[in-house]
Symmetry: none
Subunit: 210 residues, 4 copies
């Protein structure tokens, strides 16, 4: 019944709606992402949403999933083989800039924060975030392996802290229209990273400070 062509057309239509949903979330937030608004953004009829998705909630989740998976692939590729803080900070700065510029991260965050209402929704959003925690842990382990900190620092908690920091920075940044503070933070990170790398790959000796 459903030929590959059919599937492709259907997928294209869904993608169009998802894109409109992300744009609307970005511009108007979770509360403003109504069926009418999304349809207006995408230039199609409200009812079309219900032809392709069960409900608005389902559409927003699909949009979050699509964005999350696409970005995770990008992040994986960009951080492939990175084992030191200096290049990590450099790459993360670039990735954050991409995210901030496109506005899709803001859209995704809207879905995440907006989903607190229903426990069921919350559960499903969490499932979408899990790969990010795993990925962050993976990167942290790569940084720590072979250093004196490997035993000392719990990679899992550090990864969690990094994701939370990234999340918090983006949330707060959306209030500063110029993202000045977020950028300053990244710059400070870049300045301190070489020093931190030195510390990471050295033997530490602590001398009492009288």
């Amino acid at each position: 019944m459903s030929s590959p062509a059919r599937t492709t057309i259907r997928a294209a239509a869904r993608a169009r709606i998802v894109a409109a949903a992300l744009r609307t979330l970005e511009e108007s937030g979770y509360a403003g992402a109504t069926a009418r608004a999304i349809a207006a953004t995408g230039g199609f009829n409200q009812a079309l949403i219900y032809y392709h998705f069960e409900s608005i909630e389902e559409l927003l989740l699909a949009a979050l999933k699509e964005f999350s998976e696409r970005r995770l692939a990008r992040y994986r590729k960009a951080l492939e083989g990175v084992t030191e803080l200096t290049p990590l900070v450099r790459m993360m700065t670039r990735l954050y800039e991409e995210d901030a510029k496109s506005g899709e991260l803001a859209a995704a965050q809207e879905v995440v924060t907006g989903s607190v209402i229903s426990p069921e929704l919350r559960q499903r959003v969490m499932t979408l975030m899990d790969p990010w925690f795993a990925f962050a842990e993976e990167v942290v382990r790569r940084l720590l392996v072979g250093t004196v900190f490997e035993e000392l620092v719990p990679a899992r908690e550090l990864a969690y802290a990094f994701v939370a920091l990234y999340f918090g920075v983006e949330t707060l940044a959306r209030f500063d229209n110029d993202r000045a503070r977020a950028n300053a933070l990244f710059e400070s990170g870049a300045r301190l990273a070489p020093l931190a790398d030195l510390v990471l790959h050295s033997d530490l000796e602590l001398v009492d400070n009288p």
Copy 2:
């Protein structure tokens, strides 16, 4: 005309509504904090809200303000005189537990994240957050003063990072019902703090790790 008794009665009525708003935000999120829901939570008539506040938005802002000022005072007192990481982490853990238990922090966050929609609202929320950035910077400076890091680490950016981290942790924690990950993070912090304090108050010597 308006005796002190009058003022008190009025303030009490306002406080009652603000409390209902916070409870509703906590239980149902920003989108669920409707006039009807708040009135139901507080056991009063919807119209009473409009007798004491100009609009729902105004009420939510008042609630955020009330919470923010009350908690900031509490944080200031709790961290008074703290100059080392170890007691800082201990106090912060306790404060976070208070916040998490009462649910008001979650309520406040709902207002913050929910306010992204309107630029004007965003502006007003930012004004309420500013004292927190200032307070965080003050605490960070107290930790760094007199150490080798004083010149090295930009206190302002570090303070911003801490607020963002705290904010991000709380946001993510609201998805884990048991707050397991957040607690694990605090525990790791407690474990590492004494070591970090040692580093902070020592002269560092880096020996290359062959």
Copy 3:
């Protein structure tokens, strides 16, 4: 029980509320003459209205009655002894200017047109207008008495037409902010009145116009 002083105070309070109602009607129309708005205009509490009047409707009727009786007395006095069109138009122009300037006529009209909703209200408003029809008829009779038109023209219908004209002119005039058209009409009336007076007090002979 109720001394004359009491009565006077009470009457003064009522008058204050009635004045506020008229001002509010004038500025905001029938729909805008809410309890809150009237109280704000008069600088007293909403509840005070209900202490002195049964309901808003009752207050508006009282206001209409007060205005109607006061103005009718003024009109009676001004048109006393007038038996010709020329002075009649001159006096009416002056009276209309008074009414237009004070804005109370507009207020009264709001009550009249606004009262169409309820048959009972309509009935009561009509009762207040009846003296005006009678007065207009009286004036018309004074103009016609002793002329050839006395038998020809039905005074009652003419009086009705004049009241309706006056009413219509005022209604339409409230759309022209400058009342230009209404004033032009009065001026034309003044110009034609002497001619009409000539006709009124002459024997007419009609000569066919070939």
Copy 4:
């Protein structure tokens, strides 16, 4: 995209809502013409109004416009070629009866008088009334042309007076349920019209009445 059939369906739906609005205005007045009431009158859902019109105000204006244009066309046709008062009064009596019977004139008047509140609305209503002033002036000119009154009587002001009279009569008539007074006025007009026509088309000679 939008076939003629589509357009027709949409127009029919709008017409249905406009008709319901007029009926509701007629029965319940401006203040009673609420979304709920109009929907109940028309037997459709409240929300449908907002699907076809931007707001209640917009709907009422559309209703006024529709009525005004339809009736103006009817009046134009009926008074086509009329140059004497006698047939004019006869036709106007018939037209007024049509208007009074259908109740739509009352509805239209509700919008007009109700629109005093907002200056913007007032402006838009005025625009709809302008063609009526022009039409009335046109008719008046037709009556006066070639008579001795042509130079004497200002057609524009007379036209304004006629519209105001018509307007006032209708407003007052809505208080008399039987419209007795309005009808009496029309009857008197019919009785006097032939005489007035004689006067209009004669040379006047005034003889002093001793």
